[in-house]
């Protein structure tokens, strides 16, 4: 395995709330190799989007960040905005959940792509427009030259998301962060966009961090998945391991509540209860109150992330035991 492109170590992100501080991201570790597609999965509020914003340096100014975000060997935490700006759009790009509102309504899409192209490269307007046309073509927009002069409202959600991808890819970044890129789109378009992302990974050699709450999307394109629950990583595994033998009850629950995973029709299970209030966390394992397998021990201490072999890790005290039992 080559050196990781992105290496996140002990990342914690807090926001002031009342007198104290609420941790949106709590001691998160994971890494992304070049060209790898790593999925981060979790419910809304699990800290996955905050993690994404931290990587690209777009956290709100009141966020307090500790730990390390090493990108191509350089720690981004504490880097001045000026230098982060040099990386944004050049070395890493980002696409967001809401294609309908993510493009500026008063400028043409061509304008907005050209701006991204010229943000980091000195280029004539004409050359930039050619490059924008090329990009639109790459993301699968028909008659791209003509569409350059369209305004966002003249395009469908799927098309706009393609434009967003074109903007993100404008200077062939090493890393693309996609925060729920398909959630707002309907299912057929979802599949097309996932194919597109997957194809672009080959063409541009871009590593992708894909954030979603949809296990089906993960199954389709992720190499590896990081499962987040309540600001912490609870499981990390290769895509096959994760689906074949999830080690954390929360992952199991997520898989159980995803439709069309198997051929046979089975009852969809749901995870009972809701996430605990981040300002009032239970002691011990944060998932214990909702866990069917919880034992007395679970409520005493937060379990660490156990290494389970093959790069699989799970933060459940039952995981190593299950592992050894399974082995015998």
């Amino acid at each position: 395995m080559s050196a990781p492109l992105l290496d996140i170590r002990n990342l914690s992100i807090g926001f002031p709330a009342g007198k104290g501080e609420v941790l949106a991201v709590n001691d998160v570790n994971f890494s992304v190799a070049p060209r790898e597609l790593v999925g981060i999965v979790g419910e809304s509020g699990s800290g996955k989007s905050v993690t994404a914003l931290a990587i690209i340096g777009l956290l709100p100014p009141n966020a307090r960040v500790s730990g390390e975000i090493a990108f191509a060997g350089r720690n981004l935490v504490g880097l001045p905005q000026r230098q982060l700006r040099g990386l944004r759009g050049k070395e890493m790009g980002m696409i967001f959940q809401e294609p309908m509102t993510s493009l500026n309504p008063v400028f043409t899409v061509g304008d907005q792509i050209v701006e991204a192209v010229r943000a980091h490269e000195h280029m004539s307007l004409k050359a930039a427009r050619d490059r924008a046309t090329e990009l639109l073509d790459k993301v699968g927009i028909p008659s791209p030259r003509r569409r350059l002069d369209d305004y966002p409202h003249q395009m469908s959600g799927g098309m706009r998301q393609r434009v967003m991808i074109a903007i993100a890819l404008s200077s062939s970044p090493k890393l693309l962060i996609a925060d729920e890129p398909t959630t707002a789109l309907d299912v057929t378009i979802q599949a097309q966009l996932l194919d597109l992302l997957n194809g672009l990974r080959e063409d541009f050699g871009t590593a992708i961090v894909l954030i979603t709450h949809n296990m089906g999307v993960m199954a389709e394109i992720a190499d590896r998945v990081v499962v987040m629950y309540c600001s912490r990583v609870v499981e990390e595994a290769g895509i096959f391991d994760l689906f074949d033998r999830p080690q954390h009850p929360y992952t199991e629950g997520l898989l159980g509540s995803t439709p069309d995973m198997g051929e046979t029709a089975h009852r969809l299970t749901t995870i009972r209860g809701g996430m605990p209030n981040p300002a009032d966390l239970p002691p011990g394992c944060l998932f214990a109150p909702r866990c069917d397998k919880a034992i007395a021990q679970c409520t005493t201490a937060q379990p660490p992330l156990f290494e389970l072999g093959d790069g699989q890790k799970a933060a459940c005290i039952l995981a190593p035991k299950l592992q050894t039992e399974g082995a015998t």
């Binding site: 690209i56 777009l58 905005q81 700006r85 040099g86 990386l87 944004r88 759009g89 050049k90 790009g93 980002m94 967001f96 809401e98 509102t101 993510s102 493009l103 500026n104 309504p105 008063v106 400028f107 043409t108 907005q112 701006e115 991204a116 943000a119 980091h120 305004y151 409202h153 003249q154 967003m164 903007i167 993100a168 404008s170």
Partner: protein, 317 residues
């Protein structure tokens, strides 16, 4: 685009008709005999009869209305009792002065209101934001004629920097114009600048939280460009829509302000008309200003539609 303009003009016609009817009706609001009020206590019966005849008050009401509209369509708003010249002539002759000061004041309003609103929004919840909010609130709470008087006390009486009043045409002496027009323009601008600051600030705060601003930041462009291009282009829209209101407040303020500073514009013309019960002048001036504002509002709306691509392409509402 042209279709939209035409439809807006057509919509304005019934409003203009009612506006003219109200303007016409003002003289009939006078309690008792209008001619006695206009003529004053010293008027002889012959004077009163002449006044009635001049104003058509001796005719039945429906004839008066018909005559009023017949004249209106010829651009005839009646004859000023005080000046003895047609109202239209008097208003048109004075309007360049009022328009000049109005533009000066509008520029001050926009520059100051936009800048303060934007700076406040960019420093949300910091002292500079609070200061701007307080300034804007005080601005919308001060009577502008009082502000004019206080400025005269300060800048003319005590400091002697500017003349207490009077007017020098711009074409004659631009510096003189600035010296005489600045205090009136500032007095007129303050209220609207406060209003515009409030609108700009809240719009800017809303725009800054939009997804497309995050997209722009994700491109790695400078914060200047994010605010100056992406945010400002979107802030301008609601600002354009309040231009009509701003102009309206500006023109109605000009009556008092021009009277105070002795500026011979439409405002002072109306102020004198009120003081001397020159009703044709009051009616005509009221109608003229309102009609002009209606037209200006249509221009602003058309401008707005051509600025916003979302409306522009679909061709209006």
């Amino acid at each position: 685009m042209i279709g939209y303009t035409i439809s807006r003009l057509l919509q304005a016609i019934p409003i203009l008709l009612i506006v003219s009817l109200i303007a016409f009706g003002i003289i009939h609001l006078i309690p008792g005999d209008a001619a006695t009020v206009i003529g004053g206590p010293s008027a002889t019966p012959a004077d009163l009869a002449r006044i009635r005849e001049n104003l058509g008050l001796d005719q039945p009401l429906h004839i008066q209305i018909l005559t009023f509209y017949a004249n209106l369509f010829q651009g005839d708003l009646g004859r000023s009792l005080l000046l003895g010249i047609p109202v239209t002539e008097a208003v048109l002759a004075r309007s360049p002065i009022t328009i000049g000061i109005a533009i000066y004041s509008l520029v001050l309003t926009i520059v100051f209101g936009l800048a303060t609103g934007i700076i406040a929004a960019l420093n949300h919840n910091r002292w500079i934001d609070q200061a701007a909010t307080v300034f804007a609130l005080i601005g919308v709470s001060l009577p502008n004629f009082w502000l004019a008087l206080v400025m005269i006390v300060l800048f003319s009486v005590h400091l002697g920097w500017l003349p207490t009043g009077g007017y020098v045409p711009f074409t004659q002496n631009p510096i003189g114009w600035f010296r005489t027009a600045t205090m009136p323009a500032v007095a007129l601008a303050l209220l609207q600048a406060g209003l515009l600051t409030r609108i700009t600030r809240s719009t800017m705060l809303e725009v800054l939280s939009q997804d497309y601003i995050r997209t722009a930041r994700a491109k790695g462009i400078s914060e200047w460009r994010v605010v100056g291009r992406h945010a400002l282009a979107n802030v301008m829209m609601p600002v354009v829509t309040v231009l009509g209101l701003i102009l309206s407040v500006l023109l109605s303020g000009s009556i008092v302000i021009e009277t105070i500073f002795g500026i011979p514009g439409i405002g002072a013309l109306l102020g004198n008309a009120i003081a001397s019960r020159d009703y044709p002048m009051i009616q005509g001036g009221l109608f003229f200003i309102t009609a002009a504002l209606l037209l200006l509002n249509i221009v602003v709306d058309v401008l707005y539609t051509s600025l916003d691509p979302r409306i522009r392409v679909t061709g209006g509402k």
